[in-house]
Amino acid sequence: MKESDPVSRRSFLDYLLGGGLVVWTIGGVAPVLSYLWPAQRQGPGAQAVSAGKTEGWEAWQAKMVAINGQPALVLRTAQGFRAFSAVCTHLGCIVQWNVQRRQIACPCHAGFFDPNGRVVSGPPPRPLTELGVALVNGEVMVKSL
């Protein structure tokens, strides 16, 4: 071995062996971590859910429906139907329609949203997520946007 050669044959083999072990470990651990990560199931998400007939649904009345197991709030305003995810953007509690105040209220930390889903007061950092609404044969159909 020359004086100037900083890597001996032995240490080169050591590096090779160590590097190989690291690659093996990553090869084993990566699929396991990936497997543990929940596989997204979005198949039924595109399906629209009926919130009921428009007939007899008065203005400023709201209904709750489940879309993909997640609650949604469907509201008839003076202009038409609006739908929002009922999961509060603060800490995930389920919001309710408050008829007296004409606001969407979160029972956990007194967060309030207006009928457009925008934050009026309280801790929620973002407006409620809006969902799509379509009127089909007199029925209010809701689906995620």
Binding site: P31, V32, S34, Y35, W37, A39, R41
Partner: protein, 385 residues
């Protein structure tokens, strides 16, 4: 690197202030550099390969349990979810299913090596008996795990497999009901097999393996010398466990992983159709390791067949007490070696017969129909069986 050394030195001194770490290190050092008999070679790596495959089964089994649901309505669907939707689920299930097959193969090779090298003789009889129990556990793992995907093959193989226990006089009916959790194969059977597969058998096998390894380490590996004439291996003569034998194990370990991955990718184990208790598919066969017994049972009336199939495991269990010769070297044990080779040949022959029975196969352009005893019947050209 220097910092890492400093950290490990400070951890060591922290531990040394509380525990007798020197004794532990001395023990580990002695175990790592223990000299092995000079005939120890690649045949001696099947034990550690079996151990590795057992660990593989434990890890992949835990991972499968995350998505698997052991009920009649969800078992099949959850396995389908694992192999089609879960990330790398096909790999995890493949490692488990093919790992099981390879584990049985490795345990068998390990037993054959022990048999032919006479390593089961005094003072290692208990280690051998534990080994036979480990083999029994491994095969039972295979039998109980086979039902869990709840597909047609697994359902009907379990129907036939559990039906055999009903033949035992007096207690057979009770045993069958106990095993199945009722009259037929239902959700109760699935729950029972699941509990056996993921709780009872793993702990039983872990205990057997622990004592088996402990005895192996305490008594050391057998040499090829006569019983009672084994001499301790002098330092510098034997093969050091580390690094010499560990390197050999590393090589076969890499080969095993390569074979395992090739099998998973090249020959994935099909899920098939969901179990239908109202329709038995044609040509139901058990897994390869049950084929010799399956075929043997056909040649005898039910009761006698069961007795005959109980002979090999009993012989295995009692073998160290039946073979009284003090010789260990295979060249000096011609009868024992002949018996071993005959048993192996019989198992292979019956296995092959079981595999080709009740099927139609072509041989040199001529079609043959094999009946349940694997007797070929020539099919004249132009006819459809």
């Amino acid at each position: 690197m220097k910092r890492l050394t400093q950290y490990s030195a400070s951890i060591r001194s922290w531990l040394a202030g509380r525990y007798d770490i020197g004794a532990v290190e001395a023990f580990a050092e002695e175990q790592a550099h223990k000299p092995l008999p000079t005939h120890v070679g690649f045949w001696h790596t099947f034990g550690s390969l079996s151990l590795f495959l057992f660990l593989n089964q434990v890890v992949t089994g835990i991972l499968l349990m995350i998505y698997y649901r052991p009920t009649v309505d969800t078992a099949f669907e959850s396995v389908r979810f694992i192999i089609t939707k879960a990330h790398f689920g096909w790999l995890i299930r493949g490692l488990h299913a093919w790992g099981a097959t390879l584990m049985i193969l490795c345990v068998l090779c390990h037993m054959l090596r022990t048999y032919f090298m006479g390593a089961y003789k005094k003072p290692r009889e208990v280690t051998w008996i534990l080994g036979v129990l480990i083999f029994g556990c491994t095969v039972t793992f295979g039998f109980t795990g086979y039902l869990l995907p709840w597909n047609q093959l697994s359902y009907w193989a379990t129907v036939v497999g559990t039906e055999i226990t009903g033949v035992i006089p007096f207690v057979g009916g009770y045993l069958k009901t106990l095993l199945r959790g009722g009259e037929g194969i239902t959700g109760e059977t699935l729950a029972r097999f699941y509990v056996l597969h993921v709780v009872v058998l793993p702990w039983a096998l872990t205990a057997f393996i622990a004592v088996h390894l402990f005895l192996m380490r305490v008594q050391g590996l057998a040499t090829l010398e006569r019983v009672g004439e084994e001499k301790p291996i002098p330092k510098g003569v034997g093969i050091p466990f580390f690094p010499h034998h560990v390197l050999k194990e590393g090589i076969v370990f890499c080969l095993l992983v390569a074979v395992l991955l090739t099998l998973i990718v090249g020959w994935p184990i099909e899920l098939g159709e969901k179990a239908n208790p109202l329709s038995t598919p044609v040509g139901i066969k058990p897994e390869w390791y049950f084929l010799p017994t399956y075929q043997l049972l056909k040649y005898f009336p039910k009761m006698i067949g069961l007795l005959v199939s109980l002979v090999p495991p009993l012989l295995l269990l009692l073998w160290p007490f039946l073979d009284r010769s003090p010789e260990r070297h295979p060249k000096k044990r011609r009868v024992a070696v002949a018996i071993g080779i005959t048993a192996l040949a019989l198992a292979i022959v019956f296995g092959v017969l079981g595999h080709i029975s009740e099927s139609t196969r072509s041989f040199r352009g001529q079609k043959y129909d094999f009946d349940m005893y694997s007797v070929p019947h020539r099919i004249p050209p132009g006819t459809h069986p």
